[in-house]
Amino acid sequence: MLKLIGAGMTLAACGSIGVTWARVYEKRPQQLVAIEGALQLLETEILYGATPLPEAMAQVAAKCDPEMAGLFRNTALELRKMAGITAGEAWEAAVRDFFPGTALNKQDLQILKRFGAPLGASDKEDQAKHIELTKSQLKLAAQQAESQCRKHALVYKYLGFLGGLLLVLILY
């Protein structure tokens, strides 16, 4: 009886590890799409509102997917301090804080970092082009992440479960 309970627990544990791994794959495309959406908001603020960046960032934080809000809120906070740093630097610091809590990979991090440098440093047209570029990069990354998710998520789920089963068989 005890053995049976142990076997069940092993199976559940391994299964949930597999699910957790799979979730990273599932989350990444969602998060990429959420960031893309937030950038769309930012573009609107800049292009049509000509809203100064600290305010624009705070607006985006209030409106976008709550999971992404921290990134924009932190950038706004850094900028409001007037500590002599540029928007690019404020953004990069915010990205550094934000990244570890996400399902994003190195390649996504590069896209986000590259987005910072010219931020706020040129006229509307230029800013819009720049945001468009980043959005299309994010879209592409999201598509890739989606297809990876389809391939890997299920594999990891099965792997966890089957691994658990194997462990049970060996130990039983």
């Binding site: 000509a50 007037m82 440093a121 006229d123 230029d126």
Partner: protein, 340 residues
């Protein structure tokens, strides 16, 4: 050590010292590197800063009350260019970003005009490579030169002028033209006249009247987001960044001013707008570049105005006894001095 203002200075109050103003308004828009250099400066130099000039590849230069000085990489004044701290491309770029709170795109109009007004009413002039489209400046692309000008406010600068500007019997404001060579405190005087007319002058038993200001170059009221940063009185309406002629019409139609004030008239349409104001029974207060009555009467716009004998008072500024010396006040029609 000058940057530590706030410890023993009364900051944030009316009549606060220049040190306070520069520390609070100007330092935050400069890159950290240059902030540090300026805070290292001896107090008597820091106190006199009127301009901070950042020119890419050139030494950091400060315009002081009487002369100018360069600043070494250790934050000491020097007159040897080689010893001066060389302003880098990074410094200029950073300053532009800080001045615009990292939102250059929100200041396209201002950049087109060549300057941005910051909190406190100070102005940052911009130079570099202009991009022209259809014969008009579209933007300044490679910004390489900046001039941060500390806007001073001298409350009481117009004290000596006011008795001549108000009719002692009828308490009526006189049409007044202020003339002066550049950098003699024309705008400072105009601002204080506006403030006194608007708030009222108990000494002269003048109650105060509504004043409309067309501030085309944001120099008079130093508006930041439309809000005057300088004291221009309690009955003053400001149209910031508005062309003079158009602005005068707008004010006359909408705000019902008793006095209209503008800075530096000189174009033909300005004269037409002045005439409109006069016909509406509104008193006019304005300034022009020039050293004396003869010099300005050569200029076509003024020729007409003088022939019409529009103005009643002519205030002549100079710097014979320092910036803002009131050289003379004339009765415009007779040309006689009222001061002697």
């Amino acid at each position: 050590m000058a940057g530590g203002a706030g410890n023993n200075e009364k900051c944030g109050k009316k009549g606060e010292s220049l040190v306070c103003m520069v520390s609070r308004d100007i330092l935050p828009i400069l890159p950290n590197r240059i902030r540090e250099l300026l805070t290292e400066l001896p107090g008597e130099i820091f106190n006199q800063i009127e301009e901070i000039r950042l020119r890419q590849g050139q030494p950091l230069l400060l315009g002081l009350t009487k002369n100018d000085t360069m600043v070494t990489a250790l934050g000491q004044p020097t007159s040897v260019p080689e010893f001066g701290y060389t302003v880098t491309e990074q410094d200029v770029m950073r300053t532009v970003q800080l001045v615009s709170s990292s939102s250059v795109y929100a200041f396209e109009e201002e950049i087109k005009n060549g300057f941005i007004t910051i909190r406190g009413g100070h102005r940052v002039g911009i130079s570099g490579k202009t991009i022209v489209e259809k014969g008009r400046v579209k933007t300044i692309k490679y910004i390489t030169g900046l001039n941060v000008r500390v806007a001073r406010e001298v409350i009481g600068a117009a004290d000596r002028v006011m008795p001549f500007m108000i009719d002692p019997v009828f308490k009526e404001v006189q049409h007044t033209l202020i003339i002066s060579p550049p950098r003699c405190g024309k705008t400072t005087l105009l601002r204080d006249i506006i403030r006194q007319l608007s708030t009222g002058i108990p000494k002269l038993d003048f109650k105060g009247c509504s004043v409309g200001v067309v501030d085309e170059r944001s120099e008079i009221a130093g508006c930041f987001k439309g809000l005057p940063q300088k004291d221009v009185g309690i009955r003053t309406d400001v149209l910031d960044g508005c062309p003079k002629a158009e602005g005068m019409m707008m004010l006359i139609r909408a705000m019902g001013p008793q006095v209209v004030a503008t800075d530096e008239i000189g174009r033909a349409e300005d004269a037409a707008a002045l005439e409109e104001a006069l016909n509406a029974g509104i008193k006019v207060l304005t300034t022009a570049h020039g050293a004396n009555r003869e010099e300005i009467s050569q200029r076509p716009v003024f020729k007409y105005i003088i022939e019409q004998s529009v103005f009643e008072r002519l205030v002549i500024l100079g710097r014979s006894r320092g910036v803002g010396t009131i050289e003379d006040i004339l009765d415009f029609r007779t040309g006689k001095s009222l001061m002697r």
